[in-house]
Symmetry: C2
Subunit: 358 residues, 2 copies
């Protein structure tokens, strides 16, 4: 078995320890005589699994008691609709447009309410986080939406904006659990699992309880946060196995020392790659300074043929999914929590050799 | 490792062969160097998996070419809203109320259009399939909705109603792939995976292409069939691993001889249990004659204390999740495709012994 270093933007690597546990449990979890996949979600075998998943997430993110944790299906794309459908009151919301996903979130919201785009970095292919001017914020907005980390462009909010009493909503799909956030700054945090939490197929929503109210008329039952909150994510059958793997990932994070410890490792890993990119005469990062993501690092050679040759040779050497998103071009290394430091070091060694050879 | 016989209504048993394959592939699928969980959904490693899952399902269900197969999240409960939101034209739809799920489907639909309940068996705790009177059908309905198998009550439509040119929509969550259906009789078939197809977290929708049109205003992008159909279930990240396990189940069915072969096995398995229930002086089935399900078989002793004692002793002997739904009481044995004949034979032996002892 030759494992590769997988730099995919998501789904992406999972910790080997997690996969090994999942493997060992596959035909029989503990003494249950069943796979976790086979368990009734309402059984005494399964209930402790989802409860422990929630408890671990609460512990490692230090989620305050007045927040509900929900396991929902449909990905962040479904959240893009749930947010306006559930939070619309005055009918206006603020969005910061820092990438394709932020744009999609705003587009979907504009079906339901008036979207005020307080800032955008689209002028430069989203390669920076715009400075926010508070005078453009609507103090009566129903909410203020940001994307903390932008997967495609490799940018990240180094500072969480102060939006006063307006509920701050964050799409953390690509950097949840990668660095310490103060949950109490947010009204709602949501994230698809498939980058830093587990397999694709579950979305975590962490919502301040007072915001969980009545949705607008015509909101499907399954798209009401209330439905999930009141039924502890068990209104219907949740994605039971996916949640179990998330639980294993949360355990792995806890055992490594928690999110603060992971953040240090992520800073070190990203530092190794950025340092090389800043010194290289062939490769350069597409994002500068404080906007740089710890999770997704796009880079280019400036020569499309060379980019292609690099991606191809890297793949053959076991560094896969390095091709950049078509809107940015070049390469992108996604180095989520589960990418070991050795993977980044090995990639940099490979890049140095490629630079020397070409 | 002592595997139990799991009679859960769902999620429930998976074929051991499927679990063993999933286990063997856990850290490295074929030569990919990755778990299927870790694969980018847009990679050349993963794409053949979802494509093969679809091709296998088309083959074993003999799905005509003018039907789209979609992998959607959110369970049947999300379909309950998607159906009216996407199919509303005249604003009227017919529903047959054969159980709690049929009722929930109709309730959700009534948020969006006028529901005509053409028949109901609620008068007798849904323990039969009502005879349908065509004069109660609306010939101009946008669609006609049935639940082919009713998980809680253990009933099943022995005959699919002829609804003329009105699109027939079937919730097959609890009996898809258990018996042969002629897909061309239906406008839309949908089913959550967690009973006969795989782990919880994906819903299959098989829809006649001409029905995939514009949804009503205010329908979230993710709740439009068009979104999933036009993007081959890849508008956003699908539940990749769950789909992979479904693929393994479809392969298992194909290797056993297809759905017709499975149907024979299911008829034999159900026959063994019904035969005993009809002869027993202690246990009796709650459903009579043609309405009987092949998948879910509720039964009672007529004495609540005895029911409890039976469930408890059965559990200790490795027959788990036999407690009936609270609305029916007593016991329920769900014997989906993956329940081996030996499991049913062993259960009947256990019941005989319990009857002799009590």
């Amino acid at each position: 078995m030759n494992r590769v270093y997988n730099f995919s933007a998501g789904p992406s690597m999972l910790p080997v320890e997690v996969l090994e546990k999942a493997k060992a449990d596959m035909l029989c979890y503990k003494n249950s005589g069943q796979s976790v996949m086979e368990m009734s979600h309402r059984s005494k075998d399964y209930e402790p699994i989802i409860q422990e998943a929630e408890a671990l997430l609460r512990e490692i993110m230090q989620i305050p008691d007045n927040y509900k944790v929900m396991f929902i299906q449909g990905g962040a794309s479904t959240q893009f609709a749930m947010i306006p459908m559930n939070l619309k009151k005055s009918g206006k919301a603020d969005y910061v447009i820092t990438g394709m996903w932020a744009k999609k979130a705003a587009q979907e919201a504009s079906k339901f309410l008036e979207v005020n785009k307080v800032a955008s970095s689209e002028d430069k292919t989203f390669n920076y986080i715009p400075t926010l001017d508070k005078s453009t914020f609507n103090p009566n907005a129903d909410y203020f939406h940001i994307t903390t980390n932008n997967t495609i462009y490799g940018t990240r909010f180094a500072e969480i904006p102060d939006v006063g009493n307006v509920p701050l909503i964050a799409d953390m799909s690509s950097n949840i659990l990668s660095e310490v956030y103060d949950v109490s700054q947010f009204g709602l945090i949501y994230a698809g699992a498939q980058k830093n939490m587990g397999p694709a197929g579950v979305t975590i929503a962490i919502m301040r309880e007072d915001l969980i109210g009545d949705a607008i008329e015509g909101t499907p039952t399954m798209l009401q946060y209330k439905t999930h909150a009141e039924n502890d994510s068990m209104y219907n059958t949740p994605p039971t196995y996916t949640i179990y793997v998330c639980k294993l990932v949360f355990e792995w994070i806890k055992n490594l020392g928690g999110v603060a410890a992971i953040q240090k490792m992520n800073e070190e890993k990203a530092g190794i790659l950025y340092d090389y990119l800043d010194r290289s005469k062939m490769f350069s990062a597409t994002v500068e300074g404080a906007s740089r993501s710890l999770m997704n690092i796009p880079f280019v050679t400036g020569n499309e043929d060379l980019d292609k040759a690099f991606v191809k040779e890297a793949q053959a050497a076991g560094f896969i999914n390095l091709k950049g998103h078509r809107s940015v071009g070049g390469m992108r290394a996604s180095i989520y929590n589960a990418m070991p430091k050795e993977g980044v070091v090995a990639l940099v060694e490979f890049m140095k050799k490629f630079e020397a050879d070409n």
